[in-house]
Symmetry: D2
């Protein structure tokens, strides 16, 4: 079988998982190069996974003629420049969410994709989770009639590091965490017309110092009049809990689970089980399936199922929610546009 | 044991359950009289439960010297006049939620209670449900640290009858269904400062004809800055599903269950159980415990744990949510006041 | 509605529940007399539930002309004499399980029923539990095809008092606990041909001192070749857990639940719920439904759904299991017969 | 990192999973050769997983100097000869359960291991499942006190192919399915002293034609007096359901789960989820962890955690259960010995 020669940019926590998947879990790929601003780290990862080339700069990897496709998991603020360079080199590119934390940067990525015509796939791995995929299938088969209300809850078991939480780099909780839920909302229900939101820093006061919140709620009105609600928290404490409900005219689908190990412990007046510790335990398979899908699409010349447009629109909703939260007003999503200087 | 001689006013579906409880389930009460605008019905119920007296008018029952305490389950629009009459007769009174559908009527009830000094207990039965009671206890014991987000979902399995749904009599979905959740919100978190809400008629267009909605969502900001969200639906379809989550700094409590019969049916690639059909199956015990509590309070001269003030404030939030839903604006709850002509 | 005038004999823990049910929960009955060897207790219970007559001897109650039907919850070793007296007085009689702890005593009860032709209903309340009743219905509707394996687990949260556990009075764990499961086995699958069993005293050595065991397992071969297994324990510890599985050719039904309060507590890496404390919390409704059924059968001249024959045959299996456990041999159930001197 | 050069013998369904794991999932191994009696299949698999060498005969692979360790997943009746050859070549060897279907063949394997002193690891993957591993850990930590009763249920969703089910090749249901449960019993509770068993062909009459049963139950008495029960079925129908319970003096642990996809579908009066289809979905991770463990043990010169002795003893119990089922008698496990001609 022909394998796709992939170069991987960004070797943080998620990047190392991608390195493992691209090098040994995914039959359709060969990991031929890795790059990270920390060149020593790049060398270590390359050694660990038998990767032929390691680079300290993204451009070096993009220019490597042995690299046929690019996977980007670098920090969000670097996405724009790397994506532009990769697309300009006409190399099919996959980029982790969010596309950027500003619409103007995201717009540059759209422009690069349109200008070069190069294949670009946005990373929203939940769409590849067997639970969410099954939910789509059941809905298409009519199992719950017409879905009319979208509900999503995302709970992180602990707050992010302060440098990461800083809205200047993460964009804040609606962009950092909520973008997954806003993407699901669009995937299941289509475009969102307006948003209202509330939020506060109730548990981790240090987050307030960098301008972020630890608990937020957003209500969505979809373009066709249907309704949605998303609530996010940094104090899941008990575990990593992601729940999505689709309330239909003839039934409801609930996606999510919180039990990790197949064991129940029953002691005096109590039955207990453990919980999913964090996102990789919950979505490991979704991440792998997503990269397999990327490789298949490139190898078989199929269009990307998740586009830069999806990234931009989910970001637009997240920014609208942030603004709604700040102003207490209902924000029309279409009024959120890139601010060019 | 001394029993409280109770008169019951209103013999609809819930009234008949109360008749059974007061006559045979509750050791502290004796049902000595029933009244309903349908005098023939009152006679039938009296015969069924061995009740000595049956009346066609509430005032007759209130005036019956054998009646020491009054329980009111008549239609909401009749509450004000009956409560005023009962309190003016200095008979301890229990009245089902909501107190009224207008704040001015509710204010009259407050005035009657203050003027007469008669014992008055408001009916919010969820507070007596073992699940909610256990949640309070666990929170007081510090099991989840400080609760910071209140989440409530109420799902009815089918829409109300049109004549009942008419906001002129029911007050609309926020008052009719939501008042329970708003009361829980206040019970667990204290006063609510502002509300935002969205809603639509997405499944039962006939509800729109009487001005009601079938799906609504409200976001709450509490006076102390904590957050809440309530979503209500008339298309629960699968069953009667009431879920409340209290998200704390050290854990989360979830109240609710949807399985009715202790049986699992496992057939080809499926494990299934049934659901709670409707509110009486879910809250039967809470209703009984609530009436027991009323009787105990009257017999032992204890103050009511749920007051007319609780009824008024939950109603005020429900009206604020209704207005927020109509205007798209954030409504300060304290701006909702009785409109006197 | 005509009510059945019932006399209740035996006012232990279960007897008091029956007193409550017969006096105030069951519309079809009036509790007109109670009797207990402890006459003072009988007086107290009578006062508590407004029962006109209280007796210190069963015969007094049986002879009371105001008593039309008899409910017996006295200790097992008294059943035979009381049942004989009640049937000889031609008063319809209900008797709690087990009928006796010896087959010869049970045979006397059969003889009394045949001789007098008086209505007699055996108490096996699980048959009236909504879970078991639903299981029967689903099987009759063909939901799981033909059931081929019967599995039952009964777990008590703690051991019985020593005086009670003494096999001379309780008959031992197979008779005391297992008789419910053997009755279910017969109800669902028909007669049992042979039994093998093992058992030991592994947790409560004091039980060994009176000749009882705390953990036992029995395998059943039904007359038609189908299979069964029953395991019993006194160290359920975590709660009262009763599980029955019916494994069919097209599916499996599982009856049982262990969660008591509708609440989940989610704390660091743990999700927990409470458990059913003991039998009354699990089967309260079944007990009430069983007495309602008894009253309905007597009032409407219907045959008893559970007969003395059912009591005798379940007892025979329990004795066979006890013997199998002692000998290590496979015991043919039909070889267990009353030993007459 | 040094990788272990592994040769894989047997490329049936499970063999192909092992080929994938050894070639791309396990960082410690390199799959250097595959062998199958079907040489063409060996060639295909080699091509699919980039394996350098493919053989039609096991001996060829064993003799390949590039192969440092052997993994055997060939049909059970071939185990003895292949294991003897591999051990005689002094190559560390892993062999899937059961070791053989006769004790005399298994004894030959023991002899070969003792004679050559070569590393040999028996395959019982459940011991590597996170659920079972957690159960061991919790027990060692004293969470449930002293375990006193071992309960295991294994349900296959459909019967085996007739040629496979034939006890001449599979050994019958107690050896084919039950050996996993008997191994768990020994792992958790130690040696088993005696067995009683019943069984029948109740659903798939064709199994009777080859002398097998589709439903069996076995009761175990451990050497120290503790108790156990194992029930097996071929008509799980609803899914692949493996449940193990360890009942202790202070609590109970239950290992097992039956829900596959994280989704609930709630429709009129029903809540449903899907089921685990078959063993690979349930134990995929356990299989991978088991091979990782084998590679680590060989690379780091650690003793095997599962030995040929474990294989022999679990087989002995399975044979004892089969004989108990045939005779209706309690069988002492130690009386089951290899029958040499």
């Amino acid at each position: 079988m022909a394998r796709l020669n992939v170069g991987l940019i960004g070797l943080g926590r998620l990047g190392r998982v991608y390195a493992r998947d691209l090098s040994s879990r995914i039959a359709q790929t060969r990991l031929t190069a890795v790059a990270d601003a920390d060149a020593a780290l790049a060398g270590e990862i390359a050694a660990q996974f038998d990767v032929p080339h390691a680079y300290g700069r993204a451009e070096q990897l993009i220019g490597d003629p042995g690299v046929d496709a690019i996977v980007i998991v670098s920090p969000t603020h670097t996405h724009r420049d790397i994506v532009e360079a990769a697309l300009s080199a006409y190399k099919p590119t996959f980029c982790e969410k969010p596309p950027a934390i500003s619409l103007s940067e995201a717009a540059d990525m759209v422009a690069a994709e349109e200008r070069t015509g190069t294949f670009f796939q946005m990373g929203f791995m939940r769409r590849f989770d067997p639970g969410y995929a099954a939910a789509r299938r059941h809905i298409e088969e009519g199992r719950i009639g017409r879905p009319v209300v979208f509900k999503a809850t995302s709970r992180d078991p602990f707050p992010p590091h302060l440098e990461y939480a800083n809205p200047k780099s993460s964009g804040g909780i609606f962009i950092d965490m909520g973008i997954h839920d806003f993407d699901l909302a669009r995937w299941f229900f289509g475009e969102i017309e307006s948003v209202q939101a509330i939020g506060a820093t109730l548990v981790f006061p240090e987050l307030a110092s960098v301008g972020d919140r630890d608990n937020v709620i957003a209500m969505l009105t979809f373009a066709d009049g249907r309704l949605g609600v998303v609530d996010l928290t940094r104090n899941g404490v008990y575990g990593y809990d992601i729940i999505t409900e689709l309330l239909g005219t003839e039934g409801t689908i609930r996606v999510g689970y919180i039990r990790e190990t197949p064991i129940l412990i029953m002691t005096k007046n109590q039955v207990a089980h453990d919980t999913v510790p964090y996102f990789m335990e919950r979505f490991e398979r979704a991440y792998t399936l997503q990269l397999e899908n990327f490789a298949d699409n490139v190898l078989h010349d199929r269009p990307p199922p998740v586009t830069i447009h999806d990234g931009v629109e989910a970001l637009r909703v997240a920014i609208a929610a942030t603004r709604a939260c700040e102003t207490g007003e209902q924000i029309e999503v279409r009024t959120i546009v890139a601010e060019r200087t």
